[in-house]
């Protein structure tokens, strides 16, 4: 029913989305915690900076990534020299592009969750002898779980669908950076690719549906565990 290329695009999409979420999650939790619980100079600026990808055209984000992480960009050249890590035209680069694009969504979801935690619980943990990191891992993080879950699901879905930043930063290379939306775009550009386009679209829809059902199920488990 599906061609090997299409299976490959599907597999690649899932890989890119998974890597993107894995990489961005720790940073997202840290930034969300900073924004929710700390008052510091430049907090508003930091908040705005992380929200930029939401309001910028994805192509612009892709362009900036190219400038910074390109083989001659300041960070890109360093990464290549130190670790032999190349981001342009690679799956890793696609994951980075989708991570940057979905970052504000993850931060937002997690931050809302942290802001909902009664600070009194953390104060109680302090009086019971729980120091900083211990308190964070035993109280704050478990209670943030609903937000983390929501953030992961949103980020994963957004990563599956990211087009502009990916194609600008890492181009459209089969087996390397051609995810489902890029494959769909390619099919539309191909003279008799209508059938292929329809198949890829159907694949995307089923993937989205499965994601939604999964997230609903997970949310229900978390609700049951944490309760009101």
């Amino acid at each position: 029913m599906f061609t090997p290329d299409e299976w490959q695009a599907l597999g690649l999409s899932l890989e890119v989305a998974a890597r993107s979420v894995l990489v961005s999650l720790p940073f997202a939790i840290a930034v969300a915690w900073l924004l929710a619980r700390r008052r510091f100079l430049g907090r508003t600026l930091l908040d705005a900076a992380f929200h930029l990808p939401l309001v910028l055209p994805p192509v612009v984000v892709g362009y900036f990534l190219l400038v910074i992480f390109g083989s001659r960009g300041p960070v890109g050249a360093w990464l290549n020299e130190q670790f032999g890590l190349r981001l342009v035209f690679t799956t890793a680069g696609a994951a980075l592009a989708t991570a940057v694009m979905s970052f504000p969504l993850v931060v937002r979801a997690i931050r809302l969750s942290i802001e909902n935690i009664d600070p009194g619980l953390e104060a109680a943990a302090r009086t019971l002898g729980a120091r900083g990191w211990d308190r964070f891992f035993s109280i704050t993080l478990p209670l943030t779980l609903p937000g983390i879950l929501a953030g992961v699901i949103v980020a994963f879905s957004a990563s599956l669908g990211e087009f502009g930043a990916v194609i600008t930063f890492v181009s459209n290379i089969p087996g390397e950076t051609r995810t489902l939306p890029l494959a769909l775009y390619t099919a539309i550009q191909t003279p008799d690719g209508d059938a292929a386009a329809l198949r890829i679209a159907a694949l995307s829809v089923s993937l989205g549906l499965a994601g939604l059902l999964l997230s609903e199920w997970l949310a229900r488990i978390v609700r049951r565990r944490l309760g009101p």
Partner: protein, 366 residues
Amino acid sequence: MLEFDCSLKRGDFLLEVAFSAPSPGVTALFGRSGAGKSTLVALLSGLLTPARGRIVSEGAVLLDSAAGVNVAAEERAVGCVFQDARLFPHLNVRHNLEYGLRRVRGREAPIRFDTIVDLLGLSAMLARRIRELSGGERQRVALGRALLAQPRLLLLDEPLASLDAERRDEVLPYLERLREQLGIPIVYVSHDFDEVLRLAEHLVLLDRGRMVASGPVREMCLSEHLHAIVGASVVGTVLDGIAERIDSAERLATIRCDELFLRVALPQVEPGSHVRLYVPADDVLIALEPPRNVSARNVLSVEITRLEILNGSVLVHLAVAGTALLARITHSAVRELDLRAGKRCFALVKAVAAQGRRFDRRAAGP
């Protein structure tokens, strides 16, 4: 012994409080809302640092701003029970109880898990989730959790305020048991005078960020500052005594408070047990001659020491057999009987008016 002396400014609110409280025993911090009780709790627990202050508990300096000492809340070992319990919703009862116990870190841990579970009646709910607990059960778990962290001082911040009367009566006996069985000094913050009477030995009165008076509950009951806060109808005398004789046929107990013998409707006490009596000032009558054929079981020969005007009525301070007694009467009665300091008369106390509470102090009395 707890020594506390802190000052702190927060916006318009200035807190300047110094008091010391004996230990072991229960010290009540009592005052209207806005008196600074919650701020005091935060200062004691270390969650808030004052501009200047010194806190010493059982010889351990927890805070001394002059010497640059400020033990962090995590290391203070001041157990806190908050009004809203603050149990961790993602942990079950057992894991909530163990939270502090696991973080004792090398300090001695004489308070055992099983002891606390028994004392607070928690064994049936260990596996339950927090949201399945009633308000009273939550406070019991919060008490247990705080105690298992092996505190040097237990701080109870209106632990009963969010409960209805029935739940309150469910938790109070546990608090009384704690006071008797664990030798940990307790600071009890409350705006409910009844709770204070029931639990506390020492009272610190707070008003608008100041300590206005402090002392043993018995003496504080005579304080005009307290009368102004609790209101005229609640004023009364606290008497600590020992049950001398029990007349079970008449359902009367004779309680000896210093040299004063009071007959009280208290059928369940045992001879020799310690009893705290509370005699409301509204239930004490004054007569110039000893009345005959009167229903009141106690007719006491007293001397008026002082007349205190309180909200349009008069609070008569009486001296009787070495202790004090309060009676609240009208101006008209004062005029008609020509009552003044130094005059001798008789006080009538009904046996059913004196509300008694049994409590057993293992340690030597107050």
